[in-house]
Amino acid sequence: MEININASPDNGSISVIEVEGRMDALSVGEFEEKVIPQCSVDGITGYVIDFSKLIYISSAGLRAILKVAKLCKEQGRKVAICNLAPEVHEVFKISGFDLIITVCENLDSAKTAVA
C-alpha cells in the first residue's frame, strides 16, 4: 500500500490523503501509523481521502477509516472520501459506511464537502 499525504498550501486548510493498493489486515497498520497523526495537525480543518487507486478494502481497512472519522469528529474536523471503485463502494454500502461518512464522486466535490 502506498500513502501520499498532501497538505500543500494549494489545498488551504485541507489535507488530501491518497491511498494506493490494498487496505487489508496486513497493510492497515501502515495506514494508521501514517494517517492518524495527521488528524491532529494544526491548521488542518478537513481531510479528503482519495481512493482512486485503492483496489481492495476489508473490514480491517474500514476499522481504520472509522478510527480516523471518530478522531476528526472529536476535534470538529471534517472528512470526505472520494473516487471509490465499484467494488470498494459495494463494501462501503454493505457496511453502512456510505451513510455515516461523506462519500463523493470526485476530488473537487470532496474538497468542497470538507471546506
Binding site: 489486515a25 476489508s58 473490514s59 480491517a60 472509522l66 463494501v91 454493505i94 453502512g96 455515516i100 461518512i101
Partner: protein, 142 residues
C-alpha cells in the same frame, strides 16, 4: 482447485491471495475481490476466535463446484480450534449507528454473509468446518 494447510496466522493472507489471484483468472477474475474479502474475514475469525490468537493450523480450499446445477466458487476452512460457529456468534455490526457511537469492529462476518450466497458451519470430528458458496453463474463459460 486450491488446497493448502497453513498456520492460522493473518500473515498467511499474502500466500492465499497470491494463489487466489492465480486461480481466479479469465472469466472468473471479476469474482476475485469478493472471494479475497470472504477469505480474509474468515481467516481473521479463525485466528482471533477459534484459536483465541494463540495459533494453530487451518486447511483452506477453494474451487469451482456445481450445486443444484449451477456453478459456485466454494471456499472451505477447517480448523481444530474450540467450537466456534461464526454465523451464530456474530456481533451486531451496528451498520446504522453514527460515527461517534459506532463500535470499531464486528463487520467481518457481516461481509461474509452479504458477499456469499450460501454459508454453512459444521462441527466435525473436533474441527470447525465453514463452507461458503459464491454464485459464479455467468462467469464460468469458456
Amino acid at each position: 482447485m486450491i488446497s493448502i494447510k497453513l498456520p492460522a496466522k493473518i500473515e498467511q493472507l499474502e500466500t492465499i491471495n497470491e494463489k487466489l489471484k492465480d486461480y481466479l483468472t479469465g472469466n472468473l477474475e471479476p469474482l476475485l475481490m469478493k472471494t479475497q474479502l470472504v477469505v480474509e474475514e474468515l481467516l481473521a475469525n479463525i485466528c482471533n476466535y477459534a484459536y483465541d490468537g494463540k495459533g494453530g493450523n487451518a486447511e483452506f480450499s477453494c474451487g469451482v463446484v456445481t450445486f443444484d446445477g449451477e456453478p459456485y466458487i466454494r471456499i472451505s476452512f477447517i480448523d481444530s480450534g474450540k467450537p466456534f460457529n461464526p454465523f451464530k456468534e456474530e456481533r451486531n455490526p451496528h451498520t446504522e449507528d453514527a460515527v461517534d457511537i459506532r463500535p470499531i469492529g464486528g463487520l467481518g462476518i457481516h461481509f461474509v454473509k452479504n458477499m456469499s450466497n450460501h454459508y454453512i458451519y459444521s462441527r466435525i470430528k473436533d474441527c470447525n468446518v465453514v463452507d461458503i458458496f459464491i454464485e459464479a453463474k455467468g462467469y464460468c463459460e469458456k
